[in-house]
Structures are given as C-alpha cells and as structure tokens.
Symmetry: C2
C-alpha cells in the first residue's frame, strides 16, 4: 500500500515550501487532517487572502493592501530619506527596530548575473526616478552584506552618484551581544580593517 492519493499530493505540495522537508510535510498534512473543519477553513482563507488582498505599493513596491502602502501614505514619515532594500521582509525587519522614520524602496532582489537577474528585472529605473525628486535628500542602501548585495550597492552608488544626493549604507561589523570567538572570520576581518578612531 502506498500513501493514499490526496495525502500524497498534500505532502508533495507542502514540501515545496521553504524549510519544509518530506517528514515535516507529512506531519503537517496529518495534523491538518485531524484538525476541525473551521481551523482548516481559516488556514485556507488566510492563504487565499494573502494572495488576493496583498499587492505591491505603486510607489515603493512594499507589500500593501491599497495602491499605496502604509509607509508611503503616512504623514509622519520623513519623505527626504529613501531606504533601499532587497525584499519586503527587509522592510518588516527594519520597521520592527522603530529606528527608521523615512521611506523605503523595495528592489525585488539583487543583481545576480548567474541566476539571470539583471538591472531590468529589479525596480532600479523606478528608484532613479524617485531619487530625482527635489524632496529627496538621502538614499540609504540597506542591502544584505553578501557578495550580490554588495555588488548591487556598488552598482546603485555609481548610478545614483550623478544625482548629487547623499548616499549612505548600513555599516558591517560585530553583531551586538555577539562574541569575537564565535563570529565568522570574514566579519571579524572586515571589522579590523574598518576599525573606528576613538
């Protein structure tokens, strides 16, 4: 006997999700099977709504329920700063710090020639248009500090430099509460090179 078809299909679909292996997918499927109808209906509705109710902000490409996202709409945000991030999840990460009050621009990825991601597949032209506005004074490049993120930052710096706005980026260094001994070599090495005068 094999696993019956509807269960088999559910396991296959669930194991396509990130971090979910076959064993976990089977566990999830059996859990769903044992859950009451209402819980399953809620789960299905939540996933459906995710796809149907959320779109991308027409200004900054952040997630939004309306045409323009909450950040772009808010009168409290500082419209002179644009923080450039790779993905909408980075906006969530920065917002949760409560330290940033400017606007965002979600690129939708990074330049990655090997996986065929070029300039035209990212929201770079849209960024250049926004930066050109006279209100904008500063662009914060907050891409991930990996090879592709740094390459993209370099490209954006060159592209935005002629517009004569202040361009900043997030510093790399030791994570707060971290431990020199257990921090990777590359991070420690870069921190020594970029040591700060006191």
């Amino acid at each position: 006997m094999n696993i019956i078809e509807p269960l088999q299909i559910a396991i296959e679909e669930l194991s396509k999700l990130p971090t979910i292996g076959r064993k976990t997918a089977q566990r999830l499927a059996l859990y769903i099977l044992k859950s009451d109808k209402d819980s399953v209906a809620n789960l299905i509705k939540a996933v459906t709504d995710l796809k149907e109710k959320i779109k991308f902000c027409s200004v900054c490409f952040n997630l939004s329920v309306d045409d323009t996202c909450e950040v772009c709409k808010s009168p409290k945000r500082d419209k002179s700063i644009i923080c450039v991030v790779e993905e909408a999840s980075d906006v969530i990460a920065i917002e949760s710090t409560n330290e940033y009050k400017g606007l965002y621009h979600v690129l939708g990825g990074v330049l990655s020639p090997l996986s065929g991601k070029g300039v035209e597949s990212l929201k770079i032209a849209e960024l250049v248009l926004r930066v050109n506005e006279p209100d904008v004074k500063e662009i914060v490049l907050a891409l991930n500090p990996d090879t592709e993120g740094e390459t993209t930052s370099l490209y954006l710096t060159r592209r935005l430099k002629p517009l004569n706005k202040r361009i900043t980026r997030l510093p790399t260094g030791l994570p707060l509460g971290g431990d020199l001994e257990f921090t990777d070599h590359a991070t420690v090495g870069r921190a020594i090179l970029n040591r700060i005068e006191l």
Copy 2:
C-alpha cells in the same frame, strides 16, 4: 507600521501548525506571497482535498478515500492478523517497511487519564468486535513504547486475553545502526534487563 493585516493573519494561522514557529510562518507567508497564482492554487486545493476527500475506514479507522481502506480491501493481505496502532501515521510507518502483510486497527490515540482520553474515546470496542471474529488468530500491539502506549498495551492485553487469541507486541531494544554510547539510559537499561539467550 505593523505588518499588514492579511500577512499578519496568515502568519498567525501558519504558526498554529506543528513545528512552525513565528519566524518560519513569516518566511512561509512571504514565500507564498511571491509564488505564482497556480502554485498557490495547487497548495490550497491539496489542503482542501485533504479534508474533503479523506475519511476513516469503517473497519480499521485507517485513512481512506472510500468507505473501506486499501489494506482492508486488498485480497493479498493476511486477514488473520490485526496490528493495533495509535495513529494513521503509524500505519504509514509500518507499511513503508514492507514487512507486514496483515490488517490494521487504528485506535485514534492512547489511554491518557490526565488529558481526559478514556476507553470510550478510542476505537477499543470496535477492536474487541473484530478480534472476536473466528478468522482472527493474532493481535500485534504496535503502540509507541512510552508510558501511555505501554499502559494502553497492558489494558488491551487484559481486555483481549479472554478471547483466546495470540497477542504479541513489538520488542523494545537498541535501534539498528545505533550506538550504545548515544542511546538513552532507559532504552539501554531495558535492553540489559530483556537480554536474549544465544
């Protein structure tokens, strides 16, 4: 800015699933959001079908698309042996070994007075009826080797003994390919007590 509502709700619903924490739920929700419509539709259909197409076998309470499951229907299975398991997932585990050719009986849990699971909440009366059939010669108790599983096995043994059928259970011992040093004390202790004459 908080996380927008449909995303927030999806994260909450997904994090109700076993093994899925908030961080993973957010990752899954954002992944689903970025997936194309067809993939999401397939996922939703798979989960819906799981609940709508699968029922419990009227004989052994295994998962089934029909009134009677594949195992009970198969003419190839040995109808003289019934293997008693806690959950349908245990049937999948035993079937995947290809070593068992008899029938099953899924109890739907184990006796657990603390969480209010008594004899009437399990399919025990149904088991007794089945064991009473003259065709049945052996009952294999394949419950999990934990306190509740062992208590339930003990209860079932007492209950089935008067029916004068052969009652067996799965042996406990060292897992194949395991390592004495890294096997838990309880398993090694039990293995020493139950050592086998050569």
